[in-house]
Amino acid sequence: QGALEKKQVTLGVGGKSLLYYLPLTVAERKGFFKDFGLEMTINDFAGGARSLQALVGGSVDMVTGAYEHTLRMQAKGQDIRSTIELLRFPTIVVAVRKAVADKVKSAADFKGLKIGVTAPGSSTYITVVHAMAKVGLKATDASFIGVGGGASAVAAMKRGEIDVISHLDPVIAKLETDGDVVTLIDTRTEAGTKALFGASNPAACLYLRQDFIEKNPNTTQAAVNGLYKALRWIDKASPAEVADAVPEQYHLGDKALYIKAVQASKDAYSKTGVMAQDGMKSVFDMLKALDKEMESVSADIIGKSFEPRFAQKAGTTVG
């Protein structure tokens, strides 16, 4: 491995404590970035969109965020590329409030319901709309309510202001343990993801600007290596070991519950760091179908959206 062009790097993430970004936390806590000579400052943002904006603006060097962002940026002519896949499945869960669970059995019943999503336009929103589209419903058939990321989402469901929620852990875990909801669609598992998207669906990844990659290939490689090491570690570790690795606050005050949640989504973490071609295509198709701005974009951008060489190299060099 060549000398690092840049030792001190800043990384952006939108909601570091989410299970979605577990590999990052593991790499940080276990010192995997340091192992490869990086001094990593992690900036936490209120949402993935903000971390991406910081990347474009140049205030962070790299971001762990949704793969979908790189596609959107490519479509806008911003050359942003993902370098390693962290999460194979979106881990988004669509659940329905207990009280209406007997009437709402699938996406086909969403007509006229109030659906809570993290934010209008976000991936939680797109996932539900996709599910509805599959059964012939349009987005306008239900009303979507942005409920935000954290406790306000829980509050909205507990107060009965929404009938369906499309969200991630820990909101889902909280609602599930409190027995407030019944799960309809679960993309934390391979089966659930395949059922909804027909393929894997790369979610979290590490992405950077192309010019940064070009100028700092070794630094990029080091960051990928660190995350790859974390992926390998997660693959081998037991859920309990994972729970011990993260800060205590992440446990939601209930370690057993956290272990259960890790168990539920452990399969979703990428095994190789390399995205499956059909998975990328499935994300692209979904965006194209649901977002007006993406309609005219050619499929060529898929090729530019992911650079497999770093993950592949990590696969051969990192044990």
């Binding site: 969109a49 991406l52 904006q53 474009v56 603006g57 140049g58 959107r72 940026m73 806008k76 002519g77 911003q78 109030k114 934010a119 209008p120 336009g121 976000s122 929103y125 009303s143 979507f144 309510i145 942005g146 409920v147 935000g148 954290g150 406790a151 306000s152 989402a153 829980v154 509050a155 909205a156 507990k158 107060r159 202001e161 929404i162 977002d291 701005e293």
Partner: protein, 261 residues
């Protein structure tokens, strides 16, 4: 200065701003055009968007909701600020005891409070209204509190000698004396009422300008974000204009510059 000349100058400023905006998003002067557009869109696109939004008519519903929230936040916040401001100013003991708590509460980041507001008031307009109220209230409150204490002592003594009781003093002395302060705070807080409503919508809602902006932001539609903000600004000018209209006749008694004709 004549109204016409003033308007011309104001338009000049606006044109200058748009020109600058246009230039930096068209040529790579300060930064790469692509990056600039990613953050600032272009003025032409933004105004096209605003135009279509109004033409299509999709925006009216959102505008209406934000308007209602803003006005409610403004009215409730200002009323509370005025009432409690007066109360504190007239009851020094109450003021002394609660002073540190009021200041503490003013320092709570409203963004963090959003979930609690959602819990108490749901995701409808009321959680937004109360978010706005927490901003408006403090601005008005502090100014009223100060305004009441600024009443000239001798005018106050005279009013008391004329037999006014506490209620009458409020109405005939404290209130008019504090009015200039109240209106100064109202001009500041109009903006904050809008901010409260929009941020509330932004943090969780089903409609409103904040919702639109948030939606646009989620898909990196900067043009949409800026279009939302432009509408927002027009909006504030409107409400502020109403405040000024109310203010004028209430403050005619102000000495001001003596004018000969």
């Amino acid at each position: 200065m004549s109204r016409g000349k003033l308007l011309a100058l104001q338009i000049l400023v606006a044109v200058a701003v748009f020109l600058a905006w246009h230039v930096v998003t068209t040529w790579s002067i300060v930064a790469d055009v692509k990056t600039m557009r990613f953050f600032f869109s272009t003025p032409v696109d933004v105004f096209k968007r605003v135009f279509t939004m109004f033409l299509e008519g999709s925006v009216y519903r959102h505008l209406w909701i934000t308007l209602v929230e803003t006005i409610l936040a403004f009215v409730i916040g200002a009323s509370l600020g005025i009432v409690i401001g007066f109360w504190f100013a007239r009851k020094p003991i109450v003021a002394a005891v609660f002073d540190p708590y009021v200041k503490m509460m003013n320092a709570l980041p409203r963004v963090v409070l959003a979930p609690i507001f959602a819990l108490w008031f749901g995701l409808g307009i009321w959680s937004k209204v109360w978010l706005g109220v927490t901003l408006v209230f403090f601005i008005v409150f502090f100014n009223v509190y100060q305004g009441v204490r600024e009443v000239p002592q001798v005018v106050l003594a005279n009013a008391r000698m004329l037999g006014m009781n506490e209620r009458q003093l409020l109405r005939h002395v404290y209130w008019p004396a504090a009015l200039a302060w109240v209106f100064s705070s109202l001009h500041t807080s109009v903006g904050f009422a809008v901010v409260g409503a929009v941020v509330g919508e932004y943090l969780g809602s089903a409609a409103g300008l904040g919702y639109l902006i948030h939606q646009a932001e989620g898909v990196f539609d900067v043009t949409g974000v800026f279009a939302g903000m432009v509408i927002l600004m027009g909006f504030v000018m409107l409400i502020d204009g109403i405040v000024t209209l109310v203010e004028k006749p209430l403050l005619v008694w102000k000495p001001g510059e003596t004018r000969t004709v």
